[in-house]
Chain length 336, copies 2
């Protein structure tokens, strides 16, 4: 008999079918009290036969663990959060741990309501994730009675956090362009007040050395187009490669180069950052780009919250996970 | 004293602080048993003072409701799901009901594991959502002991479902183009085996009448470009307007027209479908498009599952919610 094709079976149904008292049935199922092994096995067998589903709420009360963790995000459109949440879920689902995903919209009131709901439900831990690394949670998370893990967010000192290694990702991009013989590599990126933009720009400057030029702007296609218009409209030598801080910027760059008949990758190689496939696969030509491995970030955060919720030791600190380079046609390399 | 700045307080702490037995404290807090009103008020006051958080697990056991609902989605990147989940959450959070969002990746095994976890946790209901209307859930949902609501998915006969009114949305687009004096309106859309593509195409044909032409393909920019190349490369009269089945198709259409120096909207008006802003705001010119009001779909689904989980009557059937038209520059109208 399937476990889900009928109304909820209760411990009463089990006790009745087995001809034992409710407390005996409960002890047999929970392995508590003193039940003789034969009775215990018989009760468990009958429970399975009639489709009794042990009540997770009751189990949670006994074990002081609810086997659920809460994930708070400020990302409404899910581009960053859902791949990470899928990663968290993948490592927890086989452990019988569920993930409550709550969108706060970065609104302190909504965040507060969600957090209260999660605490009320006695979740075993909280994962906080943001759409930018340096965003503070919209609600205080430092003095909760349960562990908190930050992913794509740094959290306060001494917290457990997982972020992409932006510097290493930027190096991957620049080294690829250098390997292809490019010598005048420009960096067009987002706002300077974003930590990720500064980190990537810093690593780019260090790799490129003399001649490095960073144009900070915003994360849009429009900014990519505008920056190209400026750079290719001015006097002097022109870049033969552009490393972009996001795929959207890269798309704007490629479109603007196309508009003035500059070929990508023949005249100018272009590399993006994000591997957001709806953008990176649709540029003409398709975009070589840095992938932040969001799902792997989710895996690591999930494993960390699992350890912490079991009371295991887990060293605090910010862990930077490596990015990978996805090679498509825009950089001019053979595709891997 | 804040409710969250210390370790979890238990009923034992409350009983001790109030100088009563645990059963008296429990009765006072839950309003069960016979407790004299003075004692009850005193216990409740003390519980609040010491920061006792009534255990939602225990409350769930008493009330036979867990105050959580599960949301199953097959959408990993969240473009459709997260706006709907935000809508569901918005109407439920003030009712103290949380939403478990579980990504199934459209994988039957993962869907099964998630569903079992949700049932184990005694959720009060399930919302199933898909990335296309005619997708079957990857796991059997018809014989659950709890209510199920479908959103952006039709579900089996006699289920409660909320979907966008695709026909009405298509009419909005075509009527806008007609109002602007366009007489040769072409429809470029996704695969014919998608119900949404057929419904939109049917409504388009009915509105346009003689001369209606539908090109089915896929949902990509590439298809939009290819279709434009075909239509504008062949003999005969050319369309003066193109209604696209998705924003991505519309983006391809606009890019391809630009490549052959046909002006949008002067020569050809373009309207999309989705109002997926990362696309619709970035086309040149910005895209007039049909918005499926995903958040409102989420609101309605949330209210429905709330009613059903309380045992209230809710008429089954598929409810079509109206789309709206977002007017930007690509259709040639003054922006509203």
């Amino acid at each position: 008999m399937s476990l889900i094709d009928a109304k909820r079976r209760t411990i009463h149904d089990v006790a009745k079918a087995a001809g034992v008292s409710i407390s005996t049935a409960s002890n047999a199922l929970n392995g508590t009290g003193r039940t003789n092994p034969e009775t215990r096995d018989r009760v468990r067998k009958i429970a399975e036969e009639i489709g009794f589903r042990p009540n997770a709420l009751a189990r949670g009360l006994l074990q002081k663990r609810s086997h659920a963790i809460g994930m708070l995000t400020n990302d409404t459109y899910g581009r960053l959060t859902l791949p990470m949440a899928a990663g968290v879920s993948e490592v927890l689902v086989d452990q019988g741990v569920s993930v409550f995903l709550c969108a706060t919209n970065n609104d302190p009131r909504l965040a507060r309501l969600h957090l209260d709901a999660l605490l009320d439900r006695q979740v075993d831990g909280i994962i906080f994730t943001a759409t930018r690394l340096d965003l503070k949670p919209p609600v205080e998370l430092t003095r909760l009675p349960i562990p908190v893990v930050y992913v794509f967010a740094e959290g306060p000192p001494e917290s457990v956090a997982f972020i992409p290694d932006d510097a290493q990702g930027a190096r991957l991009a620049v080294e690829q362009l250098m390997r292809l013989g490019r010598t005048r590599i420009l960096h067009i990126t987002g706002p300077e007040d974003y930590q990720a933009a500064r980190t990537r720009a810093g690593a780019y400057r260090k790799s490129v050395g003399e001649g490095a030029e960073v144009l900070f702007g915003n994360w849009s296609e429009e900014w990519g187009r505008e920056a190209v218009d400026t750079v290719f409209g001015r006097e002097g030598s022109k870049p033969d490669a552009i490393f972009c801080g996001s795929d959207e910027i890269a798309r704007g760059v490629i479109d603007a180069l196309r508009d003035v008949n500059i070929s990508v990758p023949e005249d100018v190689s272009v590399v993006g950052f994000d591997n957001w496939e709806v953008v990176s696969k649709q540029t003409r030509p398709p975009l070589t780009t840095v992938d932040m491995e969001l799902k792997e970030l989710g895996h690591q955060a999930g494993l960390a919250i699992l350890s912490l919720s079991k009371g295991e030791v887990f060293d605090p600190g910010v862990r930077k996970l490596p990015c990978s380079l996805i090679v498509r046609r825009s950089c001019g390399a053979e595709q891997t």
